[in-house]
């Protein structure tokens, strides 16, 4: 167990394979800590892009993949500590100035397959579920599971349910779902065990022959905007036209 210089909070740095190291911060979902992890990741990957070839950030952790032939593990450990230290100093100066991304969501029962069941299990009305889900601003904590899928947190305590006991074989593209303290949008049709409470008509990623650009990036603020059926249909049509171009 190693310690960050300023905060004195325990940060664990541990090898997870021949060529990767997992850095873990205290076990909590916290925007300030998450921002520190993102800053640390940006610092170390930009300063050591000759030896680090991939990095993934999650809620309270970061994995770095490195060329072990070119840098020893103890050396890398020193670089990580220095980056955490620098990120902590920078955090005191920086002010996050990110604009909020709005995601339009249609909460109608023909697309919100589990909305009634969620309301029943949470012992609140359907309207309250929609209200509790859409009034919060969420943070993008991790990208993963499937390309373009982004874990958003944190959900109102009243909406926290464990995953469905049997996952669905196919969750539709654009499904807005909840599980535990998280909410997310399925960017494409895929299997999934989360509770579906709505549908967004917008694309969650842009792609072409050489690149892949997710709609949401780590650390971003996200808000769900309830829309009515008419708007949902119009946006879906506009989106389909956009895709055909």
């Amino acid at each position: 167990m190693l310690y960050g210089y300023l905060s004195m909070k325990p940060v664990s740095i541990f090898p997870t394979s021949e060529e990767s190291v997992l850095v873990t911060w205290p076990e909590k979902v916290c925007p300030v800590q998450h921002q520190l992890i993102i800053s640390t990741e940006k610092l170390i990957t930009s300063q050591h892009d000759d030896v680090i070839f991939e990095s993934i950030v999650s809620y309270n952790s970061m994995i770095l993949y490195y060329h072990f032939q070119h840098i020893s593990y103890p050396q890398l450990q020193q670089h990580i500590l220095a980056s955490i230290h620098q990120a902590e100093i920078n955090a005191q100066i920086e002010k996050a100035t990110q604009k909020t991304v709005d995601i339009p969501v249609y909460y109608g029962d023909e697309v919100a397959w589990d909305l009634a069941e969620v309301a029943k299990q949470c012992k609140i009305s359907i309207e309250e579920v929609v209200c509790l889900h859409s009034q919060r601003t969420y943070r993008a904590y991790a990208l993963g599971f499937t390309p373009g899928f982004c874990y958003l947190g944190s959900l109102d305590k009243k909406l926290r349910l464990s995953r469905k006991s049997t996952p669905r074989v196919a969750v539709p593209k654009g499904a807005v779902a909840i599980a535990d303290q998280q909410t997310a949008i399925y960017p494409n049709i895929s299997p999934g065990g989360w509770h579906i409470i709505g549908q967004t008509p917008i694309e969650m990623f842009q792609k072409n022959e050489t690149s892949f650009q997710p709609k949401l990036s780590l650390g971003q603020q996200i808000k769900f905007i309830p829309i009515n059926k008419q708007t949902y249909i119009e946006l879906t049509e506009a989106n389909n036209k956009g895709c055909q171009k």
Binding site: T16, S17, F68, I189
Partner: protein
Amino acid sequence: MSYLTITKLNGHASIQDLGRKSAQHLGFSASGAADEYSYLLANQLLNNDPSAPALEVTLGQFSLTATDTCHMVITGADCQAFIVSEKKTPLNVPNNQVFTLTKGHELHLLMPKKQLHSYIAIAGGFLTKRWLNSASQTTTELPLGFGEKKLAIGQQLCFSTVEQSSAFQSKNQPPHYFHQDEQLALRFLPSAFWQKYTLEKQQQLLTQKYQITPKSNRMGYRLSGKSLHFHDKYSLLSKPVNYGAIQLPDDGQIIILMKERQTIGGYPVLGTVIQTDLYRLSQKRPGEYVNFVAVTLEQAQAQLLAFKTKFAS
């Protein structure tokens, strides 16, 4: 353009290279050849670039024909391959030896008696679509429509005619005994979580053997054995996961993450199997047994370095 046409496909086949390692932060599986040893050997025998795309065929039962004469090699699981031409008797094609497939002749792979994956490589590599710096196909990502489409009968796989010079100098070597028939000892790097437990508790993993279950594939290997219970009250949030991570779900039965793993996972991780043993594991079939042996980071890195040195071009 010269190409091969798939004429038979009964099992699973895909295009693979060394994988998409630097797109995991976007949620893409790293993917790549399941048995990196046999894949790299195939390219080395053909003097190819180490990351030239090859075909990974699982459990054989695969055939193809060529529009132009080309040099190829088959490595990995031995499918008793042979070439059929109109007039002559079938010609046997031994594994790990470069051969020439003449225009119009058909190459057949039977079901292998041992192991799972065979690699069919061609001089110069297949000229397939690449996506985020790799030609590797991932089953769960095929519906997204990136890169080459799912392989099927009738599909054409392009290759460079220029690479098929008649004066091809093969680097045929005596076979190496990388894969062994007996029970595989999986060397692993213990996790921080594992090290919180007493030696007595750790012995539960180290002293028993595990059977590979039929629910094993390119994504993960599920093992069956006496249930292990390492309760993790320290780590509840999903974290990035590695190739070879030894996951322990609530049912106490181990899952080892393989090439087509997801990028983030929530199960407790006991450690990570070293890469060279994962290539060996990828060729093991359901029903076969494995056991675990802890190693240090230095030992793990030394093994991988030796492996990489063998295949450095």
